[in-house]
């Protein structure tokens, strides 16, 4: 066990640091806000943290300031993109995320240009990463079972209906958007803490795709979908190392298959299997939390349960 841990230290730490980002993306998409802005903030916060550390700021400041700044900036962005929906919001936020990469490439001394920044005087331990990951997962779990979680699901189903029961929909959307960007920023500073380097690839097409894969394949409806998706994307290349260069093909095929046949991801498949295997036990431990696009009027009431919902 020990030697496996040290052999795979980087992978373990990388998997842990992505958790806030993927959770942020998931909760956003779950609320019907197809925003990839967390990835942009992931990159921006990582660059900010790296630049700060290289200019002599303390670890504490270099970690906290980017996250706080991201929250502030996101709250200014929220009203601008408030009117966009669906695919178009996705495209705008996608473009924003990649724009961060372009700015980083052209940042000269400050951002290290296309090579990025190295030997950043930051560091962290696996324990700290684990604690952060556990904190975020626990928060996601709590949110899911709270009224906020139900509002998130309700927003995805129908914004008009949610509004009609008294929820301030624009405000909730803004809050969710800002929080998801904050999660992305947290992962960003964790990234630079762990790897002590940064390059424009963190804001590339490939990174956005990877994050989306992590969010979808794991299962977007639940907090444990994020770790499943992250493990899938991080460990698949290792498991498939024999497949070598065809790894992207397998990942791509899996992604397409998931979109076609299992939109609720691996978590959704496990649920469906559990339902079949042991309906009674399943009924005891399950809680309703619809996945993307689920049609359920009982969403606002956690006690009731509709068929087809998991």
């Amino acid at each position: 066990m020990n030697s496996w841990y040290y052999d795979n230290l980087l992978n373990v730490q990388t998997a842990l640091l992505y958790i806030p980002l993927v959770l942020g993306v998931q909760i956003s998409i779950r609320a019907g806000i197809f925003s990839l802005a967390p990835v942009g903030f992931f990159a921006a916060a990582a660059y900010a943290g790296a630049a700060m550390a290289l200019h002599g700021w303390s670890i504490a400041l270099a970690t906290i300031v980017p996250v706080l700044a991201s929250l502030v900036i996101a709250s200014f962005m929220a009203p601008i993109i408030a009117s966009l929906r669906g695919l178009y919001l996705g495209l705008v936020t996608f473009a924003m995320a990649l724009l961060v990469g372009v700015i980083a490439t052209n940042g000269g001394e400050l951002t290290g240009g296309s090579l990025g920044l190295f030997a950043v005087p930051l560091g962290t331990s696996t324990l700290e990463l684990v604690l952060t990951a556990v904190f975020f997962l626990a928060a996601a779990w709590r949110i899911e079972r709270s009224s906020i979680g139900r509002i998130v699901a309700a927003l995805d189903y129908s914004e008009e209906l949610t509004s009609s029961v008294g929820v301030d929909v624009p405000r909730m959307r803004s809050i969710i958007f800002v929080l998801s960007c904050g999660c992305g920023a947290t992962s960003g500073v964790l990234y630079v803490l762990t790897l002590a380097s940064i390059s424009p690839t963190v804001a590339s097409f490939g990174t956005v795709i990877s994050v989306l894969t992590m969010a979808i394949v794991g299962g977007i409806g639940r907090w444990y979908g994020a770790p499943i998706g992250i493990i899938f994307v991080t460990w698949l290349p290792i498991v498939l190392s024999s497949v070598g260069t065809y790894r992207n093909l397998v990942e791509g095929a899996v992604l397409a298959l998931v979109a076609m046949y299992a939109p609720s991801g691996i978590a959704g498949l496990v649920h469906r299997a559990a339902e079949v295997v042991s309906p009674r036990l399943w009924g005891v431990i399950r809680r309703p939390a619809p996945f993307v696009g689920a049609n359920s009027m009982a969403v606002l009431d956690s006690e009731s349960r509709k068929e087809g919902e998991f």
Binding site: R85, L91, L99, N248
Partner: protein
């Protein structure tokens, strides 16, 4: 300055050719085909792959590239996208899942090309387009082909959509799928045919790009894809004239930017275009009213 005009025309033609397929799929079928870039690259790649093994004249290679990309795109639509359309519960979920599935499918031709070429650029060195010099301006046959075909096909398609029966059928399909069925159209056949044409145009763009530049890399599709989105959005989704205008606009903008900066900012132009247009004027230059969609 005159050379700049050639550059702009060629660039505009490339972008128009590439974006035409994208706007067809998106405007007519509501399919945001993220695999379009990979299909373009794969069209070029298959022409290269065949040319390494069989000696074919360049028209045959171009036709081959178009055939491969067209068939793959039509196949992808008929299997992957059709399954999603059937299984998903509402339009928005279809959109998102189509996007994700497109990403996945795009990885397949990408990986095949990467594995075969070891992720290096590939081209057909035996086909060297003739270079002409006219009045201080030089251009190659491939450049002429791209500019003429890109701009010409776009105009032709724009006119065909209005003047021909098939064009009207496509517009009817885009307007209301169910009613066009009632009117005797076959949406599945039309849809698959449209995707084939869109893919074939991508393949044409890919082969011509490869011949014009001397070679393309497996990830060339990625970069063009985002520019294609910018163009489709700027021109207005579903409007072919808009695609033409936007292609010219982007070509001019990029050429100007390269003139005054180092060129690493050119990709950023497309991103800024996407952001600004969707926030300020989502219907772009000539798009229909998109307030409900956006």
């Amino acid at each position: 300055m005159d050379q700049q005009i050639v550059t702009v025309l060629v660039l505009a033609g490339t972008y128009a050719l590439f974006s035409l397929g994208l706007t067809l799929a998106w405007g007519v079928l509501d399919v945001l085909n993220i695999a379009h870039g990979a299909m373009m690259m794969f069209g070029g790649f298959s022409a290269y792959w065949v040319s390494e093994r069989v000696d074919l004249p360049w028209p045959a290679l171009i036709a081959l590239g178009m055939l491969v990309s067209g068939s793959l795109t039509a196949l992808m639509d008929a299997t992957v996208f059709a399954t999603i359309r059937r299984a998903a519960s509402d339009a928005r979920q279809i959109e998102i899942l189509t996007l994700i599935a497109g990403v996945g499918v795009a990885g397949i031709p990408l990986t095949l090309a990467e594995a075969s070429t070891h992720d290096t650029p590939f081209g057909i060195p035996s086909i060297r387009p003739a270079v002409y010099h006219v009045g201080g301006v030089s251009f190659s046959a491939a450049q002429v082909a791209v500019a003429v075909l890109g701009i010409g096909l776009t105009i032709a398609l724009a006119i065909a959509l209005v003047r021909t029966r098939q064009g009207r059928a496509l517009r009817a399909l885009a307007f209301d799928r169910e009613t066009s069925q009632l009117m005797g159209l076959n949406p599945w056949l039309l849809g698959t045919a449209t995707m084939f044409v869109a893919g074939a145009l991508a393949g044409l763009a890919g082969v011509l790009l490869m011949l014009r530049l001397g070679g393309i890399a497996p990830n060339s599709g990625e970069i063009l894809l985002l520019k294609g989105f910018a163009i489709v959005i700027l021109g207005g989704v579903g409007s072919v004239w808009g695609t033409l205008l936007a292609s010219i606009f982007l070509a001019v903008a990029e050429t100007v930017v390269v003139q005054y900066t180092s060129g690493t900012w050119t990709d950023g132009i497309s991103f800024v275009v996407i952001i600004v247009v969707l926030i300020v004027r989502p219907q772009g230059f000539l798009g229909k009213n998109l307030t409900e969609r956006v």
